[in-house]
Amino acid sequence: MRIGIDVGGTNTDAALIGDGGQVLATVKSPTTEDVTGGVAAAIAGLGATEASAVMIGTTHFVNALVEAARLEPVAAVRLGLPATAALPPLVDWPDRLREAVEGAVYLCHGGHEYDGTPISALDPGELRRVAADIRARGLRTVAISSVFSPVSADSERQAADILAAELGPEVHLSLSHEIGRVGLLARENATIVNAALRPLAGRTVAAFAEALAVAGIRAPLFLSQNDGTLMDVDHARRYPVATFASGPTNSMRGAAYLSGLTDCAVVDIGGTTTDVGILNGGFPREAAGEALVAEVRTNFRIPDVLSIGIGGGSIVAPEGSVGPRSVGYRLTAEALVFGGGTLTATDLAVAAGQAVVGDPARVTGVDHERPLKIIAERVAEAVDRMRTSAAPLPVVLVGGGSILVGELPGFADVRRPDHYEVANAVGAAIAQVGGEVDRVFSGPRESVLAEAKNEAVARAERAGARAGSVRIVDVEELPLAYLPGDATRVRIKAVGDLDLEKIDA
């Protein structure tokens, strides 16, 4: 049996999945300030006393960034001089976050051209002086980025060795080639965010482990990543940024699992927003370019999600428009059906007989037809924006707020599977293990693709996938315009089933 838990800002949801894949129990409970209490309560609520593995998805780290709280000041070291001097690290950050995160910025020699040759030689003396300054400032976490590190990580690795020797094991090092892809500023930003979160990651992962101990569960713990695959506890301590988009990913993967569909649109309606994403082959389609997270430009892999301001708590204006203002987590106090004084989208759904929540008698006579039609039209428009062709596309509705929608204009196949309200926790529980390659290769296409595929499979197996279960789920080739030779950027992702014996070993 596996336990999947989704620790959100408001609710902690959990699901118990049997060895045959069936959903045995689900629970929703409030998230607690100390994390440990809410997770322990959720496990207790499932009635589970044993499990083979526990998977947790959390928005804890992305929330820290959004709130600019619980962050550690970072030493940002960039290798690439004399190139890149036009834009030092952190210049494009919003002031409030920059103040919270900026410890010190260092531009150093090193880095690579697109073909892997050095831009300039790494200067050990320069890096030792940087280390001395980092120590003098008392900074405890370092982000290292270098030009074209997705092509060659040599500079970053050598610089990390020098800094580690000078600073000792108490100082965390985050390396950009392990975190982002081509596009220096966006990859560097993600690396700095990761560095700023590492102390919090250590504390949070310890709190999760303690919650398991409190609940008496002795099973390996995993955290879900942005791409719907798992990482172990040690990895999670080092790469908290890899959890940033696990919320929408888990709900989409859970929707796929619960509906039995692998290619569909998923509409996750919560209290305040509706998130729309697309599943291809059971995995979320990823955003192609850069993504803004808390106003910081990053390029790590996150699902392509379109959010609109409609949810179960959305406030209905007198003229019939719905959202984006929402009563949020106060729904159970403020909605009419719960005895409150605010007309919310949930009240409309109850008035229309689409759901029984609270006291339906309190909304008799509420004019629901027009505002519900507007909601359906806006959700349908969002789904339409996300599709990539005019071919028929099934739509799966999940999330507590999905009672707002019955039919969607333009979509013939709309379904809401059992356990839709905890799809995110189910998505965490069923996650697999992945490996990924995103690099610039030169050479004939066939040999380049073969080399990249082998590397992705090997990475998945190293991450804990059972040998033989790994398959390639995504191949993308991007020829680089205006570059001589056959330079091609290749992105390949492989996933496989979690091999628990491998993890225990």
Partner: protein, 328 residues
């Protein structure tokens, strides 16, 4: 007039529009310009008529791959090295900087490099938009020689190219890209103050600023309904029922409805995300996007027979289309 950190966002948006869907990553160049303006103060913008006739004017820009530009970000000394070599070649001090290409990233880089060198920026450019070829310039049409031209990187590794036509300049610069790491800073079609008013696209800087704050009414507003091969826009709202086709290469080249062009290269075609108002590049166009299609005219010289030969529809594989009936 000065461009400082306050005006830069509008200017950068105008440059993005004039990129006509191409011209490289404006966001990176805009950030570099913002940093340069913070470090060195605002840039003076001078009218071509205010330049002394013998003032040496240095057009600047970069050539190479957008992917390289957003990874191997520029250094700070490219314009310093360009200027030193240009002054050596011409035996005179450079008196002003001009954008080789106002559209896209190069428009913003000209501001950054004027700030770094402390030189004024001429209110003019070489293209009045973005084009893929270095020789597709107004100076070329007026017979200004493209060489001597200077190609360099951030540490001053420099090539001087002499005695070639615009087309050959393009060939030689492209050939040097591999050695330079995929991206170079260049200055070509170097000219004198007295030539600027007659031989360049005059008023480009102030025009970019205006376009950054206000755009003409869209030709059509709708949703992207097809992206394979050609781009189809299905009208929405008051354009419901209309269908427009967009031809694109490195830039958007034509907007066609019922077989007739609504807008056509060399005029500028820009697509904006209706929701965010972000100016979109060709590679960002995806099925389902809600977009507004806008056109603004290029410099009139591009509609002369010589201009059309160098950068008209036929130069982009659209020989069957003519600009007749285009909005004036």
């Amino acid at each position: 007039m000065d461009i400082g950190t306050g005006l830069l966002p509008a200017f950068a948006r105008g440059c993005a529009v004039l990129g006509s869907g191409g011209g490289g990553p404006v966001a990176i160049a805009r950030a570099a310009a913002m940093q340069a303006l913070e470090d060195h103060g605002p840039v003076a913008v001078v009218r071509p008529g205010d330049l002394a006739p013998d003032t040496l004017v240095m057009p600047v820009g970069t050539a190479g791959s957008s992917a390289v530009m957003s990874e191997r970000i520029c250094g700070v000394n490219e314009p310093v090295h360009l200027r030193a070599k240009v002054e050596e070649l011409f035996g005179a001090p450079v008196g002003a900087v001009m954008a080789s290409e106002i559209g896209g990233a190069n428009g913003c880089l000209a501001v950054a490099w004027a700030a770094v060198t402390g030189l004024p920026l001429v209110d003019a450019d070489g293209m009045s938009r973005a084009f893929p070829g270095m020789d597709q310039t107004v100076m070329e049409l007026h017979g200004v020689p493209p060489t001597p031209a200077v190609v360099c990187d951030e540490r001053g590794r420099t090539l001087v190219i002499e005695n070639v036509t615009g087309r050959w300049l393009e060939r030689l610069v492209r050939a040097s890209l591999e050695a330079f790491g995929g991206q170079v800073a260049t200055s070509e079609y170097i000219l004198r103050g007295g030539q600027v008013a007659a031989c360049t696209a005059v008023g480009s800087v102030t025009r970019a600023l205006r376009l950054g704050t206000s755009l003409p009414e869209p030709l059509i507003t709708g949703k992207v309904a097809e992206t394979s091969g050609t781009i189809l826009i299905e009208g929405l709202g008051r354009d419901l029922g209309r269908l427009a086709r967009i031809e694109a290469g490195s830039e958007f080249h034509a907007v066609i409805e019922d077989g007739a062009p609504l807008a056509l290269v060399p005029d500028v075609i820009a697509l904006l995300d209706t929701r965010t108002e972000e100016v979109l590049r060709v590679e960002q166009i995806r099925y389902g996007l809600r977009v507004s299609v806008v056109t603004v005219p290029c410099d009139p010289i591009w509609h002369t027979p010589a201009g059309l030969r160098l950068a008209g529809p036929a130069a982009f594989g659209l020989a069957g289309l003519t600009g007749e009936g285009r909005p004036s």
